[in-house]
Symmetry: D2
Subunit: 342 residues, 4 copies
């Protein structure tokens, strides 16, 4: 018996990618597709790559339209998820791809998002120690931010093994879909092709506290993250270059063992063989995260690098993976670890 699944915010990049994955999920039947200003538009005009849904028409995001589903994915602007979730009832699995329920500290939320804190839901990064268990049976999931997914996976094993000092430096390059489908001049193709540019420099990016929140419990101490995101001339992908000073006496072997242990049995995370480094093309369209780690002995730093597809493992794939866990389905259902390359 298929699960009936609705997607609110189906015209955006997150919503579209959730639908691409759900179309290949054997236990899912796609129900309502809703949008804001696009309601009433033929879906094929909005997401021309999703052929089976081309003749659907986008409905408005109302409780009536979203009623009667087993699962509802939310791809809404910040601040809108709480009201929609409330209207859905406690029996419906609500998977929020937005930020509203990610942060635990209300003061931090308010500082970075400028609106009242809505609460905290189980966090959809099952590879992070303790989180898979918390997702089982839940009816509410906060899907992590794309950068925090890439960065937390790259760094947590070093912190879990107590090999890294609690001051991380992260520079990450993201494909432009991470900025969403909103039409802004600096996101025009003419502007982004052939250009790398930083943004949110100096600690201002909203994903910074989410990284710290993920790493501190693993490290057993507060972790400060210096995070610089950059926009890269590609549609998808995040390459996160993360480093931290190695604790005194750390060896390359210890590092490697810590990472191998942290990802043992994980279906979607792969520690690459020594000498091979992650590249975003290898995870294009896939839910895999590729990880490599090295010890720079001269500089005394651990360098951990991850590559993910920001729309898959970084958003929609992580969401579906968490949905599978919540519902007791096999975790890999509907998800691929094979990138579309070249």
């Amino acid at each position: 018996m298929a699960l009936r699944v609705a997607v609110a915010g189906a015209s955006g990049y997150a919503g579209g990618e959730v639908l691409r994955l759900l179309l290949g999920h054997p236990e899912v039947e796609i129900g309502a597709l809703t949008g804001g200003s696009n309601a009433g538009t033929r879906f094929g005009e909005l997401q021309p790559h999703l052929l089976p849904l081309a003749d659907r028409v986008l409905e408005p995001t109302t409780p009536e339209v979203l009623a009667g589903h087993d699962v509802v994915f939310l791809g809404l602007p910040h601040g809108q998820s709480a009201a929609v979730a409330e209207s859905l009832g406690e029996d419906v699995l609500v998977v929020d791809c937005g930020a509203d329920f990610r942060l635990k500290d209300a003061a931090v939320w308010e500082k970075f998002y400028g609106s009242p804190h809505a609460g905290t839901w189980p966090y959809g990064l099952p590879e992070l120690p303790g989180h898979r268990a918390a997702l089982k049976g839940t009816k509410r999931i906060a899907v992590p931010g794309c950068y925090p997914t890439a960065v937390s996976l790259a760094l947590f094993p070093a912190y879990a093994a107590r090999l890294a000092e609690p001051e991380a430096v992260v520079v990450a390059a993201s494909g432009t879909s991470g900025a969403g489908k909103a039409v802004k001049p600096h996101l025009l193709g003419s502007e982004v092709m052939g250009s790398m540019s930083p943004y949110g420099v100096g600690g201002g990016h909203r994903h910074t506290p989410e990284m710290a929140q993920n790493l501190a419990p693993v490290a057993g101490e507060p972790v400060t993250v210096s995070f610089t995101p950059t926009l890269a001339p590609m549609p998808r992908g995040i390459l996160a270059t993360c480093s931290a000073k190695a604790k005194q006496g750390t060896t390359a072997e210890q590092l490697r063992e810590a990472y191998a242990a942290a990802f043992a049995g994980e279906p979607f995370v792969r520690l690459l063989p020594e000498g091979q480094w992650p590249q975003t093309s290898a995870v294009y369209g896939s839910n895999a995260a590729l990880i490599q780690v090295a010890l720079d002995e001269h500089a005394g730093r651990i360098i951990a690098i991850s590559a993910i597809d920001n729309l898959v493992k970084g958003t929609a794939g992580g969401a579906v993976q968490s949905m599978n866990i919540a519902l007791g389905l096999p975790e890999e259902l509907g998800l691929s670890v094979n990138g579309v390359a070249p």
Copy 2:
């Protein structure tokens, strides 16, 4: 009971894409992976996006290695398929992604390829009138060229309905993977990014006679094709802009009906609604072909445009689709119509 499938030439782009699709095919078990100069290399170094095969080692392309499989895909340089196929026996389904068995006319083959003609196998473009039937039960399949796939799908309905004059003009843009993985200076990223360039201009491209061969029987008369391929700054995709003079009295309605009829029931070809035009991003990684057609009344020409992924519908997807037909499996098994976009 799974089919055991080998891929000869597994380190190239065609071979890699065949494997990506086979990894998602429910009836297939992947057997031998073979290569030429790369034999002995860990597969993860050659195709880092295919995680489940990363620890395999590429074997040499020999009869012994390829023996014992139900299906063998060949992604070999031109001229090598005949010998390998012969060694495999008549019970094995051999799917040749190369050109060796595509052309019927030995003289044309020799003019364009400069080597002796090896013969002709059933042609893996099931949408072309008569071809699906010929593929059923066959043990030998010649996978079409990527450009002929895009162009034949765009033009055959106009010829089948006798609406177009037999002189077609085609300009097609292809992603760089169409040129293969051979390392040539003009294919360097520094050279292709930000650049469009033509090649094989003036009738010299080897895919030209294949297009004429496909269209003539449908048209009931010889068809001349003026074909100009161009290299576009993208990894994948073909956009084929095809035109021909409209026969006297042709109307836009007739055209539209002819195309709708030609593709009715086709699982992988979609005639777009009026006003919507194909874009290659919408078929990235998918086996779909998007088609649109218009009548330019001022110029008196039919303009038919198709978008495919050169590595999927144009190569590996067409190959798997034809394999499914040959083996009596559901035609869509292991294939998606959903593009990875944006």
Copy 3:
């Protein structure tokens, strides 16, 4: 004594490129920079690549601001140039990068642009027979469209030599800057990278009648153009693939001679040696047009291909070249034939 030059519409792509060239022009002093909704903005925020102008502030486009200049370039939306030009007086050289004064036939103008015809100015394509003379001493210049520049240069020699039938088929790929800086969803980087897409198919593109207008007088008969523009994943460049049936008896030698003669002495057009084909990267940022021509004897067609930078030879470079001619300056002043490659 320097010419004082103003640019109206300085925040757009055409205006920015005019300024980039003028900054390197030895006889020019840059005066007013004006804009519409951007008036009042620091110029460095709008065009961060033009460092010497970074601290300027954009002024409103008014007669007062534009008064007192020797030359005024207009990079305005269609329909706004006539009023501005009128306010400037007959002694000022007005160079209109927009379409308002390109077409001679008022009915054709109204059909394609939907507004009243403003008139016709000398046409800034000096390489077209007769046009260089008409530009000398003029005080009004209509800068050609980018596609008509590329297509007219590629085809006129074949028509001038009476070697081509008067039905041309053109498929051209343009970089995204050709669509301007207006913020539209399909021009987002996420949408255009990795994608080729057609638009204005079937004769609807506004540049089509401009091509016919350019070629007919050269051919001595009306010329019909079937034109399909496509958007390519690159910021700049046009590759125009143009063809027409060869008149009976045309030889490859005749063709080559016709093209060599047509471009002899031209400072900015280069007929490439046989076997070498134009690529847009070679003209990136340069005012050169690269041309090659071939006879497809099997299809009986002439294939002529040109590559230009749409913002330079296709807009701002052609504008400056025409300004130089109008003012009696050396034609090449401030212009380069060296592309920025790779």
Copy 4:
């Protein structure tokens, strides 16, 4: 009287860019163009964007061919410059775009380059304290590496003002031309488009000791650099994200003043206004370096970011700028600060 200038290694990306700049340099006449395996080839086939040199033929790199020039630029593989320079005589200005004469410490050279140390020449980064003076009148110039140029410019003001701790963390993204024109599989367009990938991780990149060598004298103490280069899907450009712990008590105002002072009067370096960040597109083809700096008070780090064109300010532009200084010409001759954008 023009300077007669030869370029050895004219078929590579560095050599080609030197020539592009020299073609616009008013005091230069281009003499011999030499190459290795390409000797004898028409130059237009190798560098199709340099039209005035298209009919030249590449000569072999021999003392006889290079004799009789005032200036010789070397764009040779590592290890070949010393012998060529020796053959040229002490009166000829030799500008080496390679690494041979950059490093002072022979042991470090041998560790990173694996060959005997050739010596040290005046270092062509005039903006670095003390270096402009050392370049005046010199007959030998070592052009800096592209990454060290970007990183040294971004960080030296912080060290000069004693505001930063001597452990820098640098993550830089480079366009593919930085890897040169050598044909390697991972540099194919199909591989690099749509992909970010790191390389030389963990301290292994040869530019690392050059950065430390530049910063230590400015800092007055040894500086350790943790450097991770990444390959970005664009032909040109470096975006260097550099950070270091701020020394106790450092304020944002101090930082800003230090940077403003360091670059005051520099013709090619621009500290951007607060809130505006460097982007590589703004320096495409230009010799400018754009810099911005911020203090992340939460993390206690200084973040300094630079954008340059790796082939211009990072190689050929820096080379021409240094040549101008060495010869007593105006420093800006033949160089532009205007990027080719979009």
